[in-house]
Subunit: 130 residues, 2 copies
Amino acid sequence: MSLRWYTVVVDCHDVTAQSRWWAAVLGWQIGYEADDEVVLAPPHALDPDRHVPRAERGPGLIFVPVPEGKTLKNRLHIDLAPAREDDQETEVRRLESLGARRIDIGQGDVTWIVLADPEGNEFCVLSPRD
Amino acid sequence: MSLRWYTVVVDCHDVTAQSRWWAAVLGWQIGYEADDEVVLAPPHALDPDRHVPRAERGPGLIFVPVPEGKTLKNRLHIDLAPAREDDQETEVRRLESLGARRIDIGQGDVTWIVLADPEGNEFCVLSPRD
């Protein structure tokens, strides 16, 4: 018996916009698209026959529409990390140019930068790591 | 320039209990533990020198304490998938024996089973896939 972590599902107001936005952030590709669902995966993880993430490459991201808006800080959020040779501030400026906003959720003086995506979902850009 | 998806961070009431619970669900290991943070990763993904997930293996899970409780349906949730040879209902019964609850969030007649973890975070067990 075993279970694998297959995806994180993100509730959205605008599935098309949100999926394109996160694809640009991560450099990922759309593996499947319908009115009520867009699946993203890393380019190397897409199974050419089935358009879903391969097991050994970790989870994908799925964007689905919901009627309700976001009202509170999310209890799950995504952390992103620049590669060791990249610069945290450069990456954050790239995300800001895409439409991310720096936000204060009471994080204080920390090594990571807290941002919100275009629908207000909190996420962080960590210090560089491998 | 590049960013990788490093972790999903899960806000918790009880970091110790939640991290052990998800480790049991996924068969993952604790890579780092402190009072204010527990990091989980798949066994094959842990870097023996640094106790963090290796880049090519996808994100880990980090559990952090927060003062506020859960009040609404999460806008991000995790989907789990049994392997092709496994049985969805058997896996769900295993999770129920660990303390998961089947919940109705209006999903209707779907191929996945909607559950809540011990702190009420919604997640789904999909039909089996590779």
